[in-house]
C-alpha cells in the first residue's frame, strides 16, 4: 500500500533547497466506517447539490468555491487562484529557527506528517538538514500553509526521514491557569515515595498493543456474523467451514483497505 502524497513542495535551509513530499502519519482508512443507506431500497444515499434559487441540480463541473463579498455576492476562486496566494509558505518550508528537541510543549502538537525527498536530486540535501539536526539534538521551526491557514510547524529528524508537526495556534490552546489554579502545589512528602514505588512496579515499555480498539474488533465480529447469515452455507461441515470463515475475514480487511484511496483523496481536496 504505497502512501499517496498529499502535499509536495520544497524544504529550504538558507541557500540549500530540495524537493519534498509529505503524507499524513495518521489515517482513518482502516477504521470501520458505515455508509448511509435507504431503508426502503437498500441503496446508498448520496448527496447532491441543488441551486438555492432555481432548485435545479448543479452539475459537478459547475461547482466552485465562492468567497463571500457580500450577501448573495460571491467571488469564484479556482484552485490555481488559491495557489497564487502571495505567501512563499504555500510551497516552501523555509527553516528559520532551531530549538532544543523537546522544548516545544506537547499540547501545541496538532498533527504529525512524514516528510521525505520527492526526487533523487534532493536526497543528499535532505540528508544534510536531517543529520545536522540529529547531531545537534535540535528541531527546526518553520511555517507552512495547511488547510487554508498558515501554521507554525516543527521538523524533527526520525529514521531516514523527518516528522513534520503542525502546531496549534495560541488561541486554540486554553490557558491552563483557569483549570489548575485550585490544585495543591505541593504533595504530601510521605506519599510521593510510595507512589514512586508503585510506578517502579508498573513501569512497562511502550507498545502499540496499548492502543488497540476492542470496539472496532467487536463491530468487525458483528459484521462477520451477519455476513454469514447473508449467504447460505455451501458445505456446512468441518474444515471447509473453517476455511470459508478465514477467507471472509480477509475480505473484510480488503474492504477496509479499499477505503484508503477515498480517504486520501478527501484529504487532498481539503
Amino acid at each position: 500500500m504505497a502512501p499517496k502524497y498529499y502535499w509536495k513542495g520544497y524544504l529550504k535551509l538558507s541557500l540549500v533547497t530540495c524537493p519534498v513530499a509529505m503524507t499524513p502519519a495518521t489515517s482513518e482508512s482502516e477504521k470501520v466506517r458505515f455508509h448511509t443507506l435507504n431503508k426502503e431500497t437498500g441503496n446508498r444515499v448520496v448527496s447532491r447539490y441543488i441551486d438555492s434559487v432555481t432548485g435545479k441540480p448543479v452539475k459537478g463541473e459547475n461547482e466552485a468555491k465562492g468567497y463571500a463579498r457580500g450577501e448573495n455576492d460571491y467571488v469564484v476562486l479556482t484552485e490555481d487562484d488559491l495557489d497564487a496566494v502571495a505567501l512563499d509558505t504555500v510551497k516552501t518550508i523555509d527553516i528559520d529557527k532551531f530549538v532544543p528537541a523537546e522544548s516545544i510543549e506537547w499540547i501545541y502538537f496538532e498533527k504529525p506528517h512524514y516528510l521525505m525527498p520527492d526526487d533523487a536530486v534532493g536526497n543528499e540535501a535532505f540528508a544534510v538538514i536531517r543529520d545536522a539536526m540529529k547531531s545537534d539534538n535540535v528541531v527546526g521551526i518553520s511555517k507552512l500553509v495547511m488547510g487554508r491557514r498558515e501554521r507554525a510547524v516543527v521538523l524533527e529528524p526520525r529514521d531516514e526521514g523527518i516528522v513534520l508537526w503542525s502546531l496549534r495556534f495560541g488561541d486554540e490552546v486554553r490557558p491552563e491557569e483557569a483549570y489548575f489554579e485550585d490544585i495543591d502545589e505541593k504533595a504530601d512528602p510521605d506519599l510521593v515515595p510510595l507512589v514512586q514505588q508503585l510506578i517502579k512496579q508498573k513501569t512497562a515499555r511502550w507498545s502499540p498493543n496499548m492502543v488497540s480498539d476492542p470496539i472496532q474488533d467487536a463491530l468487525l465480529k458483528l459484521i462477520e456474523e451477519k455476513r454469514k447469515l447473508l449467504k447460505p452455507k455451501k458445505a456446512a461441515k468441518g474444515q471447509k467451514e473453517q476455511a470459508a470463515r478465514a477467507s471472509n475475514v480477509v475480505n473484510i480487511m480488503d474492504a477496509l483497505r479499499k477505503s484508503l484511496e477515498a480517504d486520501l483523496k478527501n484529504r487532498q481536496a481539503g
Binding site: L15, R33, G66, E105, K134, I141, V211
Partner: protein
C-alpha cells in the same frame, strides 16, 4: 474545580488501590479557518445539499436512512445504531492506570487530543502525590476507559500543577515511520557538509513560543480576492531553485559564509577554521551518542 468551564467527562482516576475523583476539560479547540461557500458557477447562486437514493435519485428523508457496511461492490450489511451501542462496553467511569512508561519511550506520533485533568475537592492529595511522583520518576501513565462512546487509551503526564491526558490514536490509525521512509536511500552525512550545516543551525538557534505565532493567510487571501475583483493579474509563484548534488557543498559554504557575515564574526583563517571543526567533531560524537540512545525507543512505531 475550575469555574465557568464545562467538564467533558467526570469519573475516577485509579492507580494501584488508590482512586480519586477527576474531571477532563478540553485543552485545545480548533480555531476557525476561512470557509468558502459552494457556488453554482452557471448562475452564481449558492447551492444546497440534498440526500438522494443513488439509484432512483429520489430524496431520502432522515427517518428512512440507516447505516450499512459495504462488503462487496453494492452489497451492504445493515447495522442498526442499537447494535453499535451494544458493542460499546458499559463505562465504569474509571481511568485505570495500566502502566507507566518512561517519558523518553513515548511515541508522540500517536497523540490525538489533549485534555486538562483535574481533581475534585476530595481527590486533591492523591492527585498531587501522583503528579509529583510521575515528575520525579520521569514517566507518563497509560490509562483506558470509555470516553465519548469509544474505548480510548489516554497518555497522562504532569503539566504544571495539573495533569494533561492526551487521547491516543488507535494502532491501525498510525502509519509506521519505518514503512513510510523505507524506500529512502540510507545516507549518512559526515565531514565538511555536516559541519557547515551545523554551523548554519548554530546561527539560527533560539527559542520559540507557539502562542505568539500569527497566521498571515487570511490577509493574503483578501489581497488575492481584491486583485481578482479589480481584474489585476495574479502574481505567478516564484520559481524555486533546487540545489543540485554538485552544487550542494557550494550552497552550504555560501550559506555558512553569509551567516558568518550576518553575525559579524571576525573572519577566520583556513587553519583556524579547521581546528574549530576538529574540536566540534569530537564533542559531537558524545552528543550524538546520547541523542541516539535517548531517542532509540521512539523509533519502534509499527
Amino acid at each position: 474545580m475550575p469555574s465557568g468551564q464545562r467538564a467533558q467527562w467526570k469519573g475516577f482516576l485509579k492507580f494501584g488501590e488508590v482512586s480519586c475523583g477527576v474531571a477532563l476539560y478540553t485543552a485545545a479547540s480548533t480555531g476557525e479557518r476561512i470557509t468558502f461557500n459552494t457556488i453554482n458557477k452557471a448562475t452564481g447562486n449558492r447551492v444546497n445539499r440534498i440526500f438522494v437514493d443513488s439509484e432512483t435519485e429520489d430524496p431520502v428523508p432522515k427517518e428512512a436512512q440507516t447505516k450499512g457496511f459495504e462488503i462487496e461492490n453494492g452489497q451492504y450489511i445493515i447495522i442498526d445504531p442499537e447494535e453499535v451501542s451494544a458493542a460499546i462496553p458499559e463505562s465504569n467511569k474509571t481511568l485505570e492506570i495500566e502502566a507507566f512508561i518512561r517519558c523518553s519511550d513515548v511515541d508522540d506520533v500517536y497523540f490525538d487530543k489533549p485534555y486538562y485533568l483535574t481533581p475534585d475537592k476530595m481527590g486533591g492529595d492523591a492527585f498531587a502525590a501522583l503528579r509529583d511522583a510521575m515528575k520525579k520518576s520521569m514517566v507518563a501513565a497509560i490509562a483506558r476507559t470509555v470516553l465519548f462512546r469509544r474505548m480510548r487509551t489516554v497518555l497522562i503526564r504532569p503539566h504544571g500543577k495539573g495533569l494533561i491526558a492526551s487521547t491516543l490514536n488507535y494502532d491501525y490509525e498510525v502509519r509506521s515511520s519505518e514503512k513510510a521512509f523505507e524506500e529512502m536511500p540510507k545516507l549518512k552525512i559526515q565531514g565538511e557538509m555536516l559541519d557547515l550545516a551545523k554551523h548554519i543551525i548554530s546561527t539560527k538557534k533560539g527559542e520559540f513560543d507557539p502562542a505568539t505565532f500569527d497566521d498571515r493567510y487570511e490577509a493574503a487571501l483578501a489581497d488575492l480576492v481584491k486583485a481578482k475583483i479589480e481584474g489585476k493579474s495574479l502574481p505567478k509563484p516564484k520559481k524555486v531553485q533546487v540545489s543540485k548534488p554538485n552544487d550542494l557543498l557550494a550552497a552550504l559554504r555560501e550559506s555558512a559564509g553569509m551567516m558568518k557575515a550576518a553575525t559579524d564574526q571576525p573572519k577566520r583563517t583556513a587553519a583556524n577554521a579547521n581546528t574549530g571543526a576538529g574540536r566540534q567533531r569530537a564533542a559531537r560524537g558524545a552528543a550524538a551518542k546520547s541523542a541516539t540512545s535517548k531517542a532509540a525507543p521512539q523509533r519502534k512505531a509499527s
